[in-house]
Amino acid sequence: MIKYARYVLVVVALLVFQASVIPFISLVGVTPDLLLIYVVVLSLREGQIPGTVGGFLIGLASDFVTGDFLGLGALTKTIAGFVAGFFFNETSPLQPLSTYTFLVVVGVAAIAHNMIHFGFLLQGMPVGVSEIVFKFIIGTTVYTVVVALIPYFLFSARSKSIHT
């Protein structure tokens, strides 16, 4: 029960952080997606089903509080959680979080997430295909992976301290 309450508190904190601090570090309108990183962490720690369900709930919460298109965040983060869940290591759930695998999984999940997210939202917009691919999909993915270095170093340091 305490574990779930902790997850909820982290999600609420990330929602506030995403809305109030992240806009200050946007680059040409591209921002990292902290909630997506957390969905990946959830999937790698708890498994594919909790990651998928967690992704849905986090996406839905994000849709509700940001005024975004209702259901789209839930859809994309469900898929991101499901994709990340393929990398779940049942015998050692913390192991992928402290290796480069974590960054790779964030990248793969972010690509899947952003392709659906921007593919859906940019329909009918006067935006070129190259801009959609390079700026919106790849740009957002790269920025999210770069920010994912922070939890990666934290998990690595924690893993080393456990082993020593």
């Binding site: 040409v28 997606d33 849905f56 509080v65 997210h117 006067p126 700026k135």
Partner: protein, 276 residues
């Protein structure tokens, strides 16, 4: 039946995925549902409450840069005030001569931006004013630099504003000099596009774009931006017009909600005509 249960057990990850995707897609048509809107208003109010202390910290960090910018802006504004005073006196004289009616000014509610949702496509802002301050959906949001957007959702003390840099944002606009009408929408970058303007019409770089009388949301004459590029694309009957918005959306901290509601009779009449 047993085979179905067995199938669902074996492929439970995929069954759950399919169910959640179905629920997500089923939510798409509920975006305009009044009950859902009310529920979203409550969640926005809750999160807005949490945004406030965080936004105080972020504002403190940016205070020095903001202070310098404001000082510079103050000098420019002082100069502009002098010029505007002159222009206003001239305007009054001309209006009296032409017996024009003085345009009524609208009440403004000052608001602080306590949250931003920037996902590169659907940019919105959270304001610390709501229904208790007289703010209602579809009211214009402006700043000293021009049009910011419109209110799309309100709770008692908070509102969500849809800014110009949002794929859903469109408004009727006109070129102030030549009175050419068009539709302003975001082009996905830091610029706007003025569309539906035929190649033969008179639009030049540097022209000022303002809201037009045709808008059912904004009063006419609100500054939107400056034409930064005009191109004639081969094979197209319209011009490709890029507009630099007057507002710098990366530094949006204080805005005003204009307590303006469009003429209901006009909207009702137009809707009735469209239905016929």
């Amino acid at each position: 039946m047993q085979r179905l249960i067995y199938f669902m057990q074996v492929y439970r990850e995929y069954v759950i995925l399919a169910a959640l995707i179905a629920i997500s897609v089923a939510l798409f048509p509920l975006n305009d549902n009044p009950q859902i809107k009310q529920l979203r208003a409550y969640t926005i109010a809750g999160l807005g409450f949490l945004h406030e202390p965080v936004s105080v910290v972020t504002e403190t960090v940016t205070l020095r840069a903001e202070n310098q910018r404001l000082r510079r802006s103050n000098i420019q504004l002082a100069d502009e005030v002098y010029q505007l005073r002159e222009a206003r006196l001239e305007n009054i004289r001309l209006r009296r001569k032409l017996e024009f009616k003085e345009r009524s000014s609208y009440d403004l509610v000052a608001a602080r931006v306590v949250g931003q949702s920037i996902d590169a496509v659907r940019n919105t802002i959270t304001l610390n004013v709501g229904k208790n301050n007289g703010v209602r959906e579809q009211m214009p949001i402006v700043s000293e630099s021009g049009l910011v957007g419109r209110v799309v959702l309100t709770s008692d003390n908070y509102s969500i504003g849809q800014v110009l840099l949002n794929m859903d944002f469109r408004t009727s606009a006109k070129v102030e000099r030549s009175r050419i009408d068009g539709i302003v929408q975001w082009d996905g970058s830091t610029h706007l596009r003025l569309s539906n303007v035929a190649k033969t019409l008179d639009v030049n770089e540097g022209d000022v774009i303002v809201t037009s009388e045709y808008s059912n949301i904004f009063p006419p004459g609100i500054f939107i931006g400056i034409v930064s590029r005009v191109q004639n694309i081969p094979g197209s009957i319209t011009k490709d017009i890029r507009v630099q918005p007057g507002v710098d959306f990366s530094r949006l901290e204080e805005v005003f909600v204009m307590l303006y509601k469009a003429d209901e009779e006009k909207i009702t009449l137009e809707e009735y005509f469209d239905r016929r």
